[in-house]
Symmetry: C2
Subunit: 165 residues, 2 copies
């Protein structure tokens, strides 16, 4: 996991200020502390989140050190994508979670007020099949699961994303 | 360039809303319109930005469609890093610029008010040598250039980024 953070370390940062800080977790007790403060897959109303045995093996919590930068533009997106691409190279999968009960997580991990909690990156061996589809004409972008536990992710078409200006 | 945007298209997006839109530029006249609204390398006080013949060959302007999402967390960081990593795979280099004279760019490219301007990604064949160093004990994170036009980028050490919490 230090190697994954090292990839983020070498990545671009606004004005090169490098205000991001990271908490690593891979022990079951610390993972459980983190897990209970996360909300999973808001569009899957019938799925309460991963059950015992399919929960993430590790987490990287991404923080902003407000002593360096009062606010963040998109450094955490750069870092998170870098870490997840690195994880895939290692045969892992991952997910960026921003729906975090931050005050609870701050209390349980004893995160000083100096650090804003930005993202939780969940890591582990992927258990599900994921398939990317094109958003239909009705424009519904909600991901969904079929009866065979395949996770379907609708993505807009390239022509919808590129503006002719 | 469409292939680079396609990499971003397949990348994570908060709640899968996919509000980012892209303007592509590779014609010299359009590139020149964009160039004049960008500010370069704030730490290099003696360098006004790339001169004729070393300016970017292309740009991707990253926008937020406010009809889909009023504000953006870090989708644009995810997309920008994905596009630049893809560019490096193609033998190109790039830079993310957030210091943009947005109203001037909006007027020159006729960007509708519906779209917030987030980033300009500059792309081209790299001309400079870049070297990454460790931030010294004085904590100075400003990049600098030496007499041989080598661009030095100080990065904080991995131990400074990982909190023992």
């Amino acid at each position: 996991m230090r190697g994954l953070v090292d990839l983020a370390r070498l990545s671009p940062s606004a004005a090169n200020r490098q205000p991001l800080r990271y908490i690593l977790s891979w022990r079951p007790d610390k993972n459980a502390l983190i897990f209970k403060h996360l909300a999973w897959a808001a569009y899957l109303a019938d799925w309460p989140g991963p059950g015992e045995g399919e929960r993430p093996s590790a987490y990287i919590i991404v923080l902003n050190d407000t002593a360096i930068s009062k606010s963040i533009d998109c450094d955490h997106g750069i870092a998170a994508q870098t870490i997840l691409l690195g994880a895939v190279e290692q045969g892992l999968g991952g997910c960026m979670l921003a729906a975090i009960q931050k005050e609870g997580l701050r209390a349980d991990l004893k995160i000083p007020e100096q650090y804003d909690i930005l993202l939780a990156l969940a890591l582990g061996k992927p258990r599900e099949t994921i398939t990317i589809e094109t958003v239909g004409s009705e424009g519904d972008i909600r991901y969904w699961r079929d009866g065979a536990a395949v996770h379907h992710v609708p993505k807009r078409s390239l022509d919808d994303l590129i503006l002719d200006l």
